[in-house]
């Protein structure tokens, strides 16, 4: 019980802060509550399938297979799969973190994880369709083209500034998260 309280401490503080906000800014209150309701709706819609998928991935995909396709030394197919997985995704970026954690646990390389996160954040195919409709083909396709380059550049930049020791620690944590949970 004590650990539960500790784990939810930030959430409780945020909730208290939210109530204070509602009282302090009554003119913004309806918007804030409506927005919170919409956020919760999105979360409830997106989270269950993602986590069911995570569970299935964990149970059915052996580490050797993941290593072969997305592990270190997998060649060009790793980044391509990472791009495809991220681009086919649905939902906000925060949905990508647990999926990335599972991919790490299964042995995907750090570069491929970073590419996956990048793709999830900005080259999602359904989003591209929205973007084309509202901002035009030129705008959307130019952004897609530069994003494909940018995602790879950012991935290598992050890998360059994060020491191997820290990467090992992140992987160990992903492993633990998978086992414990």
């Amino acid at each position: 019980m004590k650990t539960v309280l500790k784990r939810y401490r930030a959430a409780i503080v945020a909730l208290a802060g939210f109530i204070v906000f509602l009282i302090a800014a009554p003119d913004l209150a309806p918007k804030a509550t409506a927005s919170l309701a919409a956020q919760i709706k999105t979360m409830l819609l997106i989270v269950p399938p993602i986590f069911l998928l995570l569970g299935l991935l964990d149970v059915w995909v052996p580490r050797e297979i993941m290593m072969k396709f997305m592990g270190p030394g997998c060649g060009i197919k790793g980044p391509l799969i990472a791009f495809a997985l991220g681009s086919a995704a649905a939902g906000p970026l925060y949905g990508a973190f647990p999926v990335a954690s599972m991919l790490m646990k299964k042995g995907a390389s750090f570069i491929n994880i970073l590419i996956f996160i990048g793709a999830w954040s900005t080259t999602k195919i359904p989003m591209l369709l929205f973007e084309m409709q509202s901002l035009g083909y030129r705008f959307a396709l130019a952004r897609l083209a530069i994003d494909l380059v940018g995602i790879v550049v950012i991935a290598f930049a992050i890998k360059a500034v994060v020491p191997q020791k820290e990467i090992d620690r992140i992987y160990a944590e992903a492993e633990e998260r998978g086992v414990k949970k």
């Binding site: 802060g17 918007k31 399938p49 986590f51 939902g91 409709q133 901002l135 705008f139 396709l141």
Partner: protein, 183 residues
């Protein structure tokens, strides 16, 4: 008069289209997952139950962070509404507007089907391509609100590096997009 009605109808249909695509996106996810779940269930019941349990525990594991993030987003969205955003990065906001667009995009977390029509509206009302492209890129790639969550998964160093690199990239990407649109 006829023209006004026509424009109104156009914007109505496009909003409807966005909703349909937004739902389809989620619907496809559900269909894929349910099919996989069905196959898994047919192949091995015990293993499937194990998968279900693992998934549930993973949800519970990040639920506290989810709640915190959702509340933060709700407050930010209430403060940074469409009018505020258009005031900051609308027409004639210049170089400062580009900078503000990057910062606004970084702190806000608006779903695409809301952000894109808003960005399109701003663009049609005279906002610069540079500002809008910066806003859209940083909105999608930089997440200050979700940073605590990202840190818990990737560590401080990698998470900060990713967000910082993405912000810098958003400015560079915007120049490219502005150039390509103007061709």
């Amino acid at each position: 008069m006829a023209k006004t009605t026509f424009l109104w109808q156009v914007s109505q249909t496009s909003i409807l289209d966005f909703r349909i695509i937004a739902i389809m996106d989620t619907l496809i996810l559900y269909i894929v997952v349910l099919v996989l779940f069905g196959v898994s269930l047919a192949k091995d019941r015990a293993k499937t139950m194990q998968a279900l349990k693992k998934g549930l525990k993973a949800v519970e594991g990040i639920l506290p962070q989810f709640i915190t993030v959702l509340i933060l987003i709700a407050v930010l969205l209430a403060v940074f509404n469409a009018e505020t955003i258009s005031r900051f990065i609308g027409s004639g906001s210049g170089a400062l507007g580009v900078l503000l667009a990057g910062l606004l995009g970084s702190v806000t977390l608006i779903p695409g089907f809301v952000a894109f029509p808003l960005a399109g509206e701003l663009l049609r009302n005279g906002a610069g391509v540079l500002q809008i492209a910066t806003f859209v890129s940083s909105l999608m790639m930089v997440g200050i609100v979700t940073l605590p969550m990202e840190i818990s998964f990737f560590g401080k160093r990698a998470a900060l590096a990713r967000n910082f690199a993405a912000l810098i990239f958003s400015f560079a990407a915007a120049f490219f997009v502005a150039w390509a649109v103007g061709l």
